[in-house]
C-alpha cells in the first residue's frame, strides 16, 4: 500500500513540489490534488503577458489535465477544501468530498489585499491574481474606457501596461512619490515613470484613495485631497496576504502565514506547506524563485531523504513590461555604513547603482542596462568580496571581448529573430517561446531545451536576461554550492573534501560514500570525480579510462566526422628537420587530408582514422616526438617568442625557458586545459597576458601573470608578481599549477577560478607564503613522476588499450 499525499492548492509552489517529488521518488505516494480554479496548473507569473496580448492562456499552462492522468495524479479542479480533520487525517471539500492523507501539503497561496474603502465591493473593482481577473480585464477593455490601477508596484504596473495595450486609458494611483518604492530608489523610479508616461500611462503620485464611487458598477475614484476621476474599471494591486484561513481553522499555528521550519513542515508533523501561504523565519515570499527553493526542500523531506534545509531566500525583481529593462535586488538604499557606486547616463537611459558594505554587494538597482543583473545578484547572494575587482565592477562581467552573440547586451532591445546563441543558432524568439510553452524557470532548463548558452556560454548573460524578462526576473538563479550533476546534491568542494579526508581512491567508493543516486553516475560526474581522485591521490589512484571523455581515452581529438587529429609536442614551439620530415612522412603514409599549423605553435594532422592512430604514433615516437595533449584537460602548449636567443629586443632567454617549463609540466592532468607562454620582453610577442600562466621577461627578471584567457571571453591576466631568477619562475609556476589543480572545479579554467576565489587569495598563498609555495611546488613535482609516460608510446608499442583501436568484428555482407 502506498502512502497518500494530498495537495491543497493546484498552484505553482505546490505543483513544483509534486514534480520535484516525482523526480526523486516517483512511486512513494498516491497523490491527490485539490484546486479551486477550474484549470490545470498554470504559470501565474505570465499572466501579465496574457493581459498584454503577447501570450494566450494556452501558452502559459504548465501541466494540462492529460499530464495529471499520465502521472496517475487525481486532480479535483474547481473544488475548495474547507476542512482539515487532523485527528483522522482527512480533508473535506465544500461539496462533501473527502480524501484521506498520510502527508498533507498546503499550497493555498495568497489573496490580493483589497483596501477597505467604501465602494470596494462594487462591480468593476477587481484584483490581478488569476485567470478570472485577466478575463474580467480583457472583457472590460472591449467596452469600457477608463481604467484606474491602484498600486504602483510590480503587479500594478504590469496590469496598467496590459490594459493600456488593450486600448484603455489608464491612470496609475500610487500612495508614495516613487513607483515600486520597495524595489527602486528615487532616480530609477523616476526613469521608470517617464518611460511609462511615454507609453501613454497617466500617474497620480502621492494620492490616497478615499472611496470608490458608483451604484452597482464603479463610476469614479475619489482621493483624500478631493480629486475625483472617472473609472469604468478599478484594479486593486496593493499587495497580497498569505491565505491561511484553512490552516487556521484546522488549528495549525499561523502568524502572518502558515509557520514552517527549515524542512517546510508546519507545527503538525504530517502537514507541510510551501509557497505564498508560508511564513518561514518571519518572512513570507511572493516571488517564484523562493517558492521553488522551498519546493525542492519540501520534496526532499516528503521523499524521506531528510537532508535538505531551506534557509530563506534573497530575492531580485524584474518588471515584465516589454521594452523596459529594470532590475533590483537586495538592500538598494543602504545605511550609513554603506557605500554607493553609481553610473548614470541620461542620454542613453542608463542608471546603475550598487550598494556595498565591507566590500560586499548589499543591493543593486539597474535601469536601461541590466545584463549584469544576474551577476551582481550572484555576488550578492554568495557574499563575494569584490575588493579584487571593485574598480571594474560597475562595468559588469560581460564587457569587451565577448564573442558569439553579435555584441548584443540588452535582450529587451532585441527582436525575436535576432540570434542570441551563435554556437547553436538559437534566436531570442525560440528562447521566449520555450520558456513559456515548456514552463522553464532556470538557466539549466533553458539550456537543455533550447541549447542556448549550452556550448561556449558567452551568451549566458543574455539568456539569463531573456529568462528574467520573460518570467519577471525572479527565476531560480544558480546558488553558490551547485551540485556536481543530477546524480547528487553534493558540490564539487564536498566531493573533493570527502576524497581527501577519507582517502577514497575509486569512483565506486566515492559514489557509495556520498550516496550517489545511480551507481554508474553520468557523463558529467564521472570525469570530474576521476580527476579529483587522480589529483588528490596521484600515487594510489588508478585512472579510470571508461570515465574519461573519448579524447582523453584515446589520446587524440575527435572531429565532427568521427576521425581524429594528432598533434605532436614541439617543446616551446621549436622543431627541426627530422621532426618535420617524420611529420611529412606520416601525413603521406596515412593519407592525412589536412595538415595545419596551430595557434599554439605546433602542427596538427587532421582527419586520421582511429585504427591508424597507434601506427602513426609509432612513427612519430621513432622520430623522438610524444603526445602534445592537444585533446586533454592538461598542459597544452607553452608558446614562446624568440627572445634573447635571437631578438634584438630580447631581455631573457624565452625559448629555453618555455621549452624547459613544458618539459617539466607536460602530462599533468588539470581541471581544464592549461596554456602557458613566455615572452622575451614587454613587447610580449608570445601573447603571454592571455594565458593561464604567462611569463614576460624584463631586464631585471620576469613578470609572472595568471588567469588569462583568449577564448570566448577575453580576459587579460592579473599580475601575480615579479621574480628575479629562472628558479623562481619554475617554483611559482609549479605552485600556481598545483593550487589550480587542487582547488578549481573540474572544467573550470583559471580565469573563472581566479574570479571566484579572488586574486588576493592566490597572491597570499603563492607569493606571500613561501612555505606554502614550496610545498605546492613539491606536490606538483611529486605527482608528475606518475604521469610523464608518453601515452602514445604506451599504445603504439606497449599494447595498452588495444581494444580501443580495432573493431570487435567485421561482418561481411
Amino acid at each position: 500500500m502506498r502512502e497518500k499525499l494530498v495537495l491543497v492548492g493546484n498552484g505553482m509552489a505546490g505543483m513544483r513540489t509534486i514534480e520535484e517529488l516525482l523526480e526523486i521518488a516517483p512511486d512513494q505516494y498516491d497523490i491527490t490534488v485539490f484546486g479551486a480554479e477550474p484549470y490545470g496548473n498554470y504559470n501565474r507569473i505570465l499572466l501579465s503577458p496574457v493581459l498584454a496580448g503577447e501570450k494566450t492562456i494556452n501558452d502559459i499552462m504548465l501541466n494540462d489535465e492529460q499530464w495529471y492522468k499520465e502521472k496517475n495524479i487525481t486532480l479535483h479542479k474547481g473544488r475548495w477544501i474547507t476542512e482539515i480533520d487532523r485527528k483522522n487525517k482527512i480533508v473535506k471539500t465544500a461539496d462533501g468530498l473527502e480524501a484521506a492523507y498520510d502527508r498533507l501539503l498546503l499550497g493555498t497561496g495568497s489573496n490580493p489585499f483589497i483596501i477597505p474603502v467604501p465602494g470596494s465591493d462594487l462591480t468593476g473593482v477587481i484584483s490581478f491574481r488569476d485567470i478570472a481577473d485577466v478575463d474580467a480585464m480583457l472583457d472590460a477593455s472591449t467596452s469600457k474606457k477608463h481604467a484606474v490601477v491602484i498600486g504602483g508596484g510590480l503587479l500594478g504596473l504590469e496590469a496598467a501596461n496590459g490594459l493600456k495595450l488593450q486600448g484603455m486609458s489608464v491612470t496609475v494611483v500610487h500612495i508614495t512619490k516613487t513607483l515600486m518604492e520597495r524595489q527602486l530608489d528615487k532616480t530609477a523610479g523616476k526613469m521608470l515613470q517617464q518611460s511609462l508616461e511615454a507609453r501613454g500611462l497617466h500617474f497620480l503620485m502621492a494620492h490616497e484613495t478615499e472611496a470608490i464611487i458608483g451604484e452597482d458598477r464603479v463610476k469614479a475614484v475619489r482621493f483624500k485631497n478631493g480629486l475625483e476621476i472617472a473609472a469604468d474599471l478599478v484594479v486593486m494591486a496593493v499587495g497580497i496576504r498569505p491565505n491561511i484561513d484553512l490552516a487556521k481553522s484546522a488549528g495549525i499555528y499561523c502568524e502572518r502565514g502558515v509557520v514552517v521550519n527549515d524542512t517546510m513542515q508546519t507545527y503538525d508533523p504530517s502537514i507541510y506547506a510551501v509557497g505564498e501561504c508560508v511564513q518561514h523565519r518571519g518572512q513570507a515570499y511572493g516571488l517564484v524563485a523562493p517558492l521553488f527553493e522551498q519546493a525542492k526542500v519540501c520534496a526532499n523531506h516528503l521523499a524521506k531523504y531528510g537532508i535538505a534545509r531551506y534557509e530563506g531566500s534573497v530575492t531580485s525583481t524584474k518588471l515584465k513590461v516589454t521594452g523596459i529593462d529594470l532590475f533590483s535586488a537586495g538592500d538598494f538604499l543602504g545605511d550609513d555604513d554603506c557605500e554607493e557606486i553609481i553610473l548614470q547616463d541620461p542620454a542613453s537611459g542608463v542608471y546603475k547603482k550598487l550598494v556595498l558594505k565591507n566590500n560586499k554587494i548589499k543591493g543593486a538597482v539597474m535601469y536601461g542596462d541590466t545584463i549584469d543583473g544576474a551577476w551582481y545578484f550572484q555576488l550578492l547572494r554568495d557574499g563575494t568580496d569584490v575588493s579584487d575587482f571593485r574598480q571594474s565592477l560597475m562595468y559588469g562581467k560581460s564587457h569587451l571581448g565577448d564573442s558569439g552573440h553579435g555584441g548584443q547586451d540588452a535582450a529587451a532591445a532585441m527582436s525575436d529573430d535576432m540570434e542570441v546563441c551563435g554556437c547553436n543558432g538559437v534566436c531570442k524568439g525560440d528562447i521566449v517561446k520555450a520558456i513559456s510553452s515548456k514552463g522553464l524557470f532556470t538557466l539549466d532548463d533553458v539550456r537543455s531545451h533550447t541549447k542556448a548558452s549550452n556550448s561556449c556560454g558567452s551568451c549566458t548573460g543574455l539568456v539569463e536576461q531573456i529568462l528574467a524578462s520573460t518570467l519577471g526576473g525572479d527565476y531560480s538563479a544558480a546558488t553558490k554550492a551547485k551540485p556536481v550533476c543530477k546524480c547528487t546534491d553534493h558540490s564539487h568542494e564536498e566531493v573533493r573534501q570527502v576524497i581527501r579526508e577519507n582517502k577514497l581512491i575509486t569512483i565506486p567508493s566515492v559514489f557509495q560514500f556520498m550516496e550517489w543516486r545511480n551507481k554508474d553516475g553520468c557523463h558529467v560526474c564521472r570525469p570530474a570525480v576521476n580527476y579529483y581522485l587522480l589529483s588528490s591521490w596521484p600515487a594510489e589512484c588508478t585512472d579510470d579510462y571508461q570515465s574519461r571523455f573519448i579524447n582523453e581515452r584515446v589520446h587524440a581529438n575527435i572531429q565532427k566526422d568521427g576521425t581524429y587529429s594528432v598533434v605532436p609536442r614541439m617543446w616551446g614551439g621549436i622543431t627541426n628537420p627530422t621532426e618535420l620530415r617524420a611529420i611529412a612522412d606520416v601525413a603521406e603514409k596515412f593519407s592525412v587530408p589536412t595538415v595545419k599549423v596551430t595557434g599554439g605553435q605546433r602542427i596538427d594532422l587532421l582527419g586520421v582514422k582511429k585504427e591508424d592512430l597507434p601506427a602513426m604514433w609509432k612513427d612519430l615516437n621513432a622520430a623522438g616526438m610524444v603526445s602534445g595533449h592537444a585533446y586533454g584537460k592538461s598542459l597544452r602548449t607553452v608558446k614562446t617568442c624568440v627572445g634573447k636567443e635571437h631578438c634584438r629586443f630580447g631581455t631573457q632567454f624565452s625559448i629555453s625557458m618555455g621549452a624547459h617549463l613544458e618539459k617539466m609540466t607536460w602530462g599533468s592532468w588539470m581541471p581544464h586545459k592549461f596554456k602557458m607562454a613566455v615572452s622575451g620582453c614587454p613587447r610580449n610577442c608570445a601573447e603571454a597576458t592571455i594565458k593561464d600562466f604567462g611569463i614576460v621577461a624584463v631586464e631585471s627578471g620576469w613578470e609572472l601573470h595568471v588567469g588569462g584567457n583568449g577564448g570566448v571571453k577575453v580576459r587579460a591576466t592579473d599580475l601575480l608578481c615579479k621574480v628575479k631568477t629562472d628558479e623562481e619562475v619554475e617554483e611559482y609556476c609549479y605552485a600556481f599549477i598545483q593550487l589550480y589543480r587542487e582547488q578549481a572545479h573540474y572544467l573550470e579554467r583559471t580565469a573563472p577560478w581566479i574570479e571566484r576565489v579572488g586574486l588576493s587569495y592566490v597572491t597570499k598563498t603563492i607569493v606571500d607564503d613561501e612555505q606554502q609555495r614550496k610545498a605546492l611546488a613539491q606536490r606538483f613535482l611529486e605527482s608528475q613522476t606518475y604521469v610523464q609516460n608518453d601515452p602514445w608510446r604506451e599504445r603504439a608499442s606497449e599494447g595498452v588499450h588495444e581494444h580501443e583501436f580495432k573493431p570487435l568484428a567485421v561482418i561481411a555482407g
Binding site: 515548456k438 537543455s448 531545451h449 545511480n518 551507481k519 554508474d520 553516475g521 553520468c522 557523463h523 564521472r526 570525469p527 579510462y545 571508461q546 570515465s547 571523455f549 573519448i550 584515446v554 575527435i558 565532427k560 566526422d561 568521427g562 581494444h803 573493431p807 570487435l808 568484428a809 567485421v810 561482418i811 561481411a812 555482407g813
Partner: protein, 104 residues
C-alpha cells in the same frame, strides 16, 4: 526469428565501454554495462551522426561524444528534452558470447 551472428566475447568489451562491429549496413556499436548487460545501436547519433561507441556509458545509457545527447541503450530513444531515436539491433549474450542480429 532474426538470425544471430556471433561477434565476440563479453570480456572483449570493457565494462561501461563499447566496441564497434563493421557491417555493410555501417558500424554498429555494442555496449557493455556495469551489470554485464549488452546492447547494440547504430554507431551514428541521430542528431549529427556522432559515433555513439565513443561515448561514456552510464547505467543503461550512453552520452554521445559530440554534443552530449544521452540515449537509452534499450530503446535507442534520446533522453528528454532531446527528441530522436537511434536504430537498435537485437543482441544476445550466451555463456560469455555475444550474438548480434542485423535485422533492426
Amino acid at each position: 526469428m532474426p538470425k544471430f551472428i556471433e561477434v565476440g566475447l563479453l570480456e572483449d568489451i570493457p565494462q561501461l565501454g563499447s566496441r564497434v562491429i563493421e557491417t555493410d549496413q555501417g558500424r554498429i556499436a555494442i555496449f557493455r554495462t556495469s551489470d554485464d548487460e549488452v546492447f547494440a545501436l547504430a554507431d551514428a547519433c541521430p542528431h549529427k551522426g556522432g559515433p555513439l561507441s565513443q561515448g561514456i556509458v552510464h547505467g543503461k545509457r550512453v552520452t554521445c561524444p559530440m554534443h552530449n545527447w544521452v540515449f537509452e541503450l534499450q530503446s535507442g530513444e534520446a533522453v528528454a528534452p532531446d527528441e530522436a531515436c537511434a536504430a537498435r539491433y537485437p543482441v544476445q549474450l550466451e555463456s560469455g558470447k555475444i550474438y548480434l542480429s542485423l535485422e533492426k
